[in-house]
């Protein structure tokens, strides 16, 4: 399979990327790692007339502490996040989840900004970012603006980004040694999650919980978070994990089974985050 013909533009700075987006309009797409975009172009589900390649934009590749937050450049590749000592020390949920994306070859190319912009409801890292209460920093013709991640994922492959904008940075709180858990249920190790749950103890004392593949976008498990805030037990709170979700039925699982997985994986992730149990391994994920 070969994508439909397009014009290719290589840029080396964010300003050049913004200028190229302005010049080429809505038919242009940003190419970072290409591991979400090129597959859908090969299937002709996306037929952009211009690709703006930002993979050479050095200023988008970093992981650093900035005040109370960790700032991560949108061009940071999954394997770089996985190996980042800053990320491992300051927000260990993220490098762990990065290590669970796809396979090594995919992680060598895929970028954090790319997976957020793509907005697939089954994505690992957007689920973790949602649990963390991340901020998405975008840049467009009128400069930079920050969007809370809770307002970023609008619908199936639809984000709050305006035309002409691209993601430049993701900001997350420094959770340090605070507990976290990520439980992902797949049929094969390198698959997308059938359902996944992320749980993380946040610096303000709350617990963030989010779910992958339980609706048209990655979702906050708001009822679980509220129950935990009221002091209810992990078992009781996790029973509410499927509330407010709209899971689909497909060849892998029907909606009822997905709801069961959401409750089970949320319970496991919360228990791992609280130090009650160890993380599930490939051998012990039977659900």
């Amino acid at each position: 399979m070969i994508p439909a013909a397009f014009e290719y533009v290589r840029v080396s700075t964010v300003d050049e990327a913004v200028a190229a987006l302005a010049e080429h309009g809505e038919d242009a797409k940003i190419l970072a790692g290409g591991h979400s975009l090129l597959p859908i172009m090969k299937l002709r589900l996306a037929v952009p007339s211009v690709l703006i390649d930002i993979s050479g934009v050095q200023e988008l590749s970093y992981v650093r502490v900035d005040g109370d937050e960790v700032a991560i450049g949108a061009g940071t590749r999954h394997h770089e996040l996985e190996k980042s000592e800053v990320a491992q020390a300051e927000v260990p949920l993220l490098p762990h989840v990065a290590s669970r994306v796809g396979d090594p070859q995919v992680r060598h190319k895929g970028t954090l900004g790319g997976t957020v912009a793509h907005c697939d409801p089954a994505s690992d890292l957007p689920t973790a970012l949602l649990a963390l209460g991340a901020t998405v920093v975008v840049q467009g013709p009128s400069g930079r603006r920050s969007i809370p991640i809770t307002e970023f994922f609008l619908g199936f492959f639809e984000t709050a980004m305006e035309e002409g904008e691209l993601i430049v940075e993701l900001r997350v709180p420094r959770t340090g040694a605070g507990g976290w858990g990520y439980e992902k249920f797949t049929r094969r190790e390198n698959d997308w999650p059938i359902v996944a749950a992320a749980a993380v103890h946040l610096p303000d004392g709350s617990v963030g919980v989010a779910l992958a593949n339980m609706g048209g976008v990655v979702l906050k498990a708001s009822a679980v978070e509220a129950a935990l805030a009221e002091g209810r037990s992990i078992e009781d709170a996790a029973e509410l994990a499927a509330e407010g979700t709209s899971p689909s039925s497909d060849m892998h699982a029907d909606a009822e089974y997905r709801s069961h997985l959401a409750r089970l994986l949320t319970k496991r992730a919360l228990k791992v985050a609280s130090g009650e149990t160890g993380a599930s391994t490939a051998e012990s994920t039977a659900a």
Partner: protein
Amino acid sequence: MQVSMTVNGQQRTDEVEPRTLLAHHLRDNLGLTATNIGCDSTSCGACTVMVDGLTVKSCTVLALQAEGSEVTTLEGLSTDGELHPVQAAFRSEHGLQCGFCTSGMVMAAVGVLADNPNPTDREVREGLEGNLCRCTGYHNIVQAVLKAAESGPAAGQVPSAKQEVTA
């Protein structure tokens, strides 16, 4: 558009359509047909090559994305007729059946050993999660990677990268 890259130590500059995939560029323009295209959808890993020392699936990379890079395919692993340690181990352990996945599997294995020179059986299996063997011949493949690891750090290196180190 013009694209330049170093492939197996040789500088190559060619004219390509922007939509040309790296796998097609290597096979059709450069005649390097060891790189197989299996699923064509980033799943099977048969098209795995190294770009700047990291494994990628060349069916999901544009040739233009490898501009200025150092690319290594299976053809570039052996030096002076001598098999790379991973190739030698795949032969001695019979780490293949039909052979279709082998070139990608060998490249992925070099990548696994570059990242982790002394992997456990489990770590080899996890490291090769992106490569499928449709004969299901995984047991001997894993044995071959473990055997290659015994030959030391050379098993995780590609010849052109070695040149860089000594230069």
